[in-house]
């Protein structure tokens, strides 16, 4: 436990020391220092190809590292020398495992050389399908969101017309009120007219009845008062008038 404390304290103690004089190293400006904060979003896209590997075993950087001093054949000479050294000093022992390794390696290399291209194409196709699916989902999401945005804009445009809507509604209500008012006015007029007509009809009826009754009563009395004597006198006078008239007509002719 105390050792762990010491281990923890050691780097902190070392850092607490005054920093050593700045070591001026020839550092290319393009290499990133460990102190820079790398931002994680948006993620950079995956690199297309991995690091170059020669013969499937040795990274290309090794060949580039030896190129300035030894040219192109340098690493191969190094490899050959090392192999001969291991064989001669029997650091690499040739036994039954060597034969097994040779057979296995030859089979593997034959398989890779022959089927490598097809397997790579198949894997690429799988990757393409995955990417296409993800892209389709993303595009569909974008499209649906765009459609939602358009719908929202249209709704906003529609809201602008609400003044007209309310004006029309107000007009409707006013018209309804007006129509109702006029209906009732008409009804009042009709009712009043009916009552007044009734009164007028009553009065005319009463006057008619009075007139008829009076006429009948006067006629009856007159007829009663005509005595037979008067009747004879009136008839004789009528005949004399008629004779006179006829004489006058004869004379006119």
């Amino acid at each position: 436990m105390l050792s762990r404390l010491v281990l923890r304290a050691a780097p902190a103690a070392l850092r607490a020391l005054p920093p050593p004089p700045l070591a001026v190293g020839v550092l290319h400006a393009t290499r990133q220092l460990h102190t820079t904060q790398q931002s994680l979003a948006p993620l950079p896209p995956l690199p297309e190809k991995g690091g170059e590997v020669r013969h499937g075993l040795i990274p290309e950087e090794f060949f580039q590292f030896l190129y300035p001093k030894t040219g192109v054949t340098g690493p191969y000479m190094l490899g050959t020398g090392l192999l001969l050294y291991f064989l001669s000093k029997e650091i690499y022992v040739v036994n039954h495992e060597t034969v097994a390794a040779a057979c296995i390696l030859s089979v593997i290399i034959y398989g890779v050389k022959r089927f490598g291209g097809d397997v790579a194409a198949f894997a690429d196709k799988l990757n393409e399908e995955k990417m296409a699916k993800a892209l389709a989902v993303k595009n569909e999401a974008i499209n649906s969101l765009q459609a939602a945005i358009d719908e929202e804009k249209k709704e906003q445009w529609r809201v602008e017309g609400r003044t007209y809507l309310f004006d029309a509604k107000r007009n409707n209500v006013a018209m309804l009120l007006e129509a109702n008012y006029r209906e009732r006015l008409m009804m009042v007029y009709n009712e009043v007219k009916k009552r007044l007509d009734y009164q007028v009809a009553m009065q005319t009826l009463k006057r008619q009845k009075e007139q008829e009754h009076m006429i009948q009563w006067v006629e009856k009395n007159v007829v009663q008062s005509i005595t037979p004597q008067q009747q004879k006198e009136s008839v004789a006078k009528c005949i004399m008038d008629l004779k006179a008239l006829s004489k006058g007509a004869h004379a006119a002719l």
Partner: protein
């Protein structure tokens, strides 16, 4: 364009031989630091050879070759007895 850089921030390939002991002393040797170093190494290898769009055979074949070499080294004391000559 050479820029003055603190010793502890430089990468290993840029450290001069004379500065190597002081550089080693400044590294983080706590268990967390060592685990961090393993994780960094793994992420470097992974992001360079495996986490790419068109990865090749080299990515895993290097790991398998390293495993073969390591297992040979671990069993060398046993293989020594199959040597054909006693003196080289």
């Amino acid at each position: 364009l050479p820029s003055p850089v603190l010793l502890k921030d430089m990468k290993l390939m840029d450290v001069k031989l004379g500065q190597l002991p002081s550089w080693l002393a400044m590294r983080d040797f706590t268990p967390g630091g060592i685990a961090g170093a393993f994780r960094r190494g793994y992420e470097r290898y992974y992001n360079k050879y495996i986490n790419v769009k068109k990865g090749g055979l080299g990515g895993i074949s290097m790991v398998l070759a390293g495993y073969v070499v390591l297992s040979y080294i671990w069993s060398y004391s046993h293989i020594k007895h199959d040597r054909r000559r006693k003196y080289h």
